[in-house]
Amino acid sequence: MKLYYKYVIFFMIAFMFFGAIFYYVYSYRNFLVNKEVIKVGVLFSQSGTMELTEKTIINATLLAIDEVNKSGILPGVRLEPVVYDGASNWERFAFLARKMILKDKVKVIVGCWSSSCRKAVKSVVEKYNNLLIYPTQFEGTEESHNIVYLGAAPNQQVIPGISWMFDHYGKKVYLIGSDYIYPHVANEIILADVKSLGGEIVGVKYLPLGSNDVGDVINDIIKKRPDFIVNTINGSTNIAFFTQLNALTTGIKRIPVISFSVSDAEVNKIGIDKYKGNYQVWSYFTLLDTPENKAFLKAYQKKYGNVNNISDPAITAYAGLKLWTQGLAQAITQSVDLNPNIIRGFMLRQSIASPAGVIYIDPFNAMAWRTVLISKVNDQGKMDIVWSSKSPIEPVNYMNSKTKTEWDLFEYQLYTKWNEAWENLSN
């Protein structure tokens, strides 16, 4: 009898003791238990023609991952970046995206600059129901349940740029771009817009990605004397283009160029004196005087030692990862499965105070509401913001000039013309 009591008492004391320990661990499990690792794919080019522009995006994304891990927004979760080099090759992008999803089991991929890469990765993320956060300006004409488009849509970049140039320079337009999907669609939009404004397109030229052979095009431009040039060249060709344009047009009246894909990295490489007087349309400039931008630049400076070459897509990737984190945090709070597509659902209607102002994800097309800024490089080599939309603009993926089906057909025709690629590889 007596012995039995001793056992019971011992058992109860042990129960209370272990219960207390369990309760403590349960309450503070976030600090004691090993954190769950969620992998984030970072897929950009570290070599090839896009090396210069995409390097900063990787840096900004890694900075965002660092900040999220330090902030404790995600209880019990640690983000781990998986960085691969896409080498400016869309086939390699698709291969690496598949590798990230199947081998590394990433929950999200932040990646792609060019639209041909995005289209290649799109088929992969759709096949495996994963999520791509796309931080670059693009041509619209696409919707996917596995992509969040945070870059500027045509109505947030191309159209305002053309309108501004029309009002201030004239009606003769020369279009020049890289020979892949984005410039073709952008130029199709511009074509319709210029037509509705009663303007004239004096020439359209496409250069292969990574080409430095720009002399013919510039001679053609000089011959046709447009009022302004619309530049949709991507990558290192920009450096050759601006350098030679500057060399060949010395002495004659300067033709202003409005660019949609020239990043600070390339402007620095071209040299600010050769680039001044030209226009750019982005949502972000390093000089923006907002507390968020100052904080970002400070953090970036601290991590990488300089704040050179920060571009709009870099900021967008940075904000995009944070928006994804907000969605993930909400998914964790509501104890749902952390499926990439479910997290995408939670990302919709999220907003963030990013260095580029408010970025809000539209629930209908998963594109971003962004503020439009048109800037001019002045004689001192500084950016002057000549027009601002003051508030974020609703994104439109299919522009009004064609119906959705017409746009899809237009893309399909290009795709078949280029032998089932999103890039003209024939020249």
């Binding site: 009591y5 037509k195 907000q326 809000y360 939309s389």
Partner: protein, 560 residues
Amino acid sequence: MNKIRLFFQTIFSGHAIIPWMLIVAIIPMCFVSFFAYHIAKTILHQAININLMTTIQKKIEVIDSYIRERKIDLYQISELPTLLKAIQNSQAKNGQIDVLDPNLMAPFSSYLNYLSKKIGINNVYILNLSGKVIYTLKNDAILGTILSADSKMSMDVYSSYEGAKILREPYLFATHQEGRRSSASDIFLSRPVMGGGSLKAIIVIRINAQKIETIIDRLLGYGKSEETLLATLINNTPVVVMYSKEGIDEKNIDILDSQKIQGYLLQAIRGESSTPVELEGNGKGIMAVYRYVPQLNMGMLLKYDRSEVFERIHWLGLNMLLFIVVSLLFVVTLVFWISRELSLANQKNEDLLANTFPDFVIKELKHKKQFLAKNVDHVSIIFIDIADFTTYSLDKPPEIVVQFLDNIFTLFDQICGKYNAMKIKTIGDAYMAASGLTEYREDHAKNTVDLGIQIILAMKHFNLNHKTNFSVRVGIDSGMITEGVIGKTKFSFDIWGNAVNRASRMQSTSEKNKIQITEETFQALTNKEDYTFTPRSNLTVKGLGELNTYFVEEKDSANF
């Protein structure tokens, strides 16, 4: 050290059963109850948080869909055939529309007048591409003027016009005047008018912001204490331009004094969103949740009394507490009852055991589950036999006999207790006791002799009281005996040995009211001077041969 050991012995002994059972039952129960309460509270807390965030989300969605509907209205107005025809027939100046056909614009105006009441449009403007106002629905001073960003009067219309012109998409521009109520705020929605595939003009509609206030008002929120604030940036400070509070007509915007609300509103306008945050007090004051409103480029803050929202949690807590208290009381009562029953049963057992066995036997039985037989020296054994009891009992009913015997033996038991002697058993009318069993006693012989003397006296008393004529024969011997317990389920304690036999013989060869002791007892007596001895030398005892024995009496028995 001893005290501590004693303390532990006490609390771990069977006597402390009640407090221990209480502790054993109640502490884990309290623990489990608290744990369950905590989990339930956390889940409810989270549910409320999610609910609040859904509420603010819903309000934003209502605004969103309202503005989207107005954009569709605007699109349909801009596509009206009358308008397009009027634009086609218009007079141009410098390549821009200058005057719209008045004949066609009259039905357009009447239609707009009808529509404006229906969808809440305040005014409609149409501007040509050089910024000249070519049409207004209501007679406005700006008709015919060329607008610019510098003119303070028409700045809002111009901003709206410029937005749509550059973006080529519906553009929303909201104006607010500092220090004034929402009725002074206006929302301008503009979009391009396309005629024959080219951009012809910009159409702008003006909606009163009060309309939005009304739709937020109409949307049921979380509770009565809820207030909704919509703020925008004016000169880099957040200014509340719309305000709604359920069930209250009078609207005072005096809440802006709070520095914290200003801060939150600023964050909301910048695009941050929050989980519920505290505004005032230590968990008892005002809570808020804020979000960015994309369509208006404003920040929304939902403010509510914590007490109201957490009413349900308090209710849950109260219920839980009541439940815990009631079940604790129940458990306490149950435990008390069970342990009392248990301890009563235990006591009964122990009493019974104590009657059957000597204390030291019980102790050893409890500890070791068995009692080992052992030899004990220096023990005196006394046999007392009631003489002629058999003859007396012959003609008596058995109940009376047993009653008599019981009375007599009870008397013997009482006397035994006085003389440190232990009753071993009774055999018929004989009574057997011993002294010196539990521990070594120098006076074991004296005890038994005194016991014998006392019993003889007591019997005399008994005879007087009961008018009987009983006498006793007493025999005593001292020496070594063996003690032990026999039986596994039905125990009995007994002693064996030569001394026991001899004591029995002493009794049988003794005389009425005399105490016969052996030589060994005589030697063991320490106070021989107190007694008078009458030796009975060379008494032949059956089975033992010749023995020296003594009759012993108290020295001054004459006193009795």
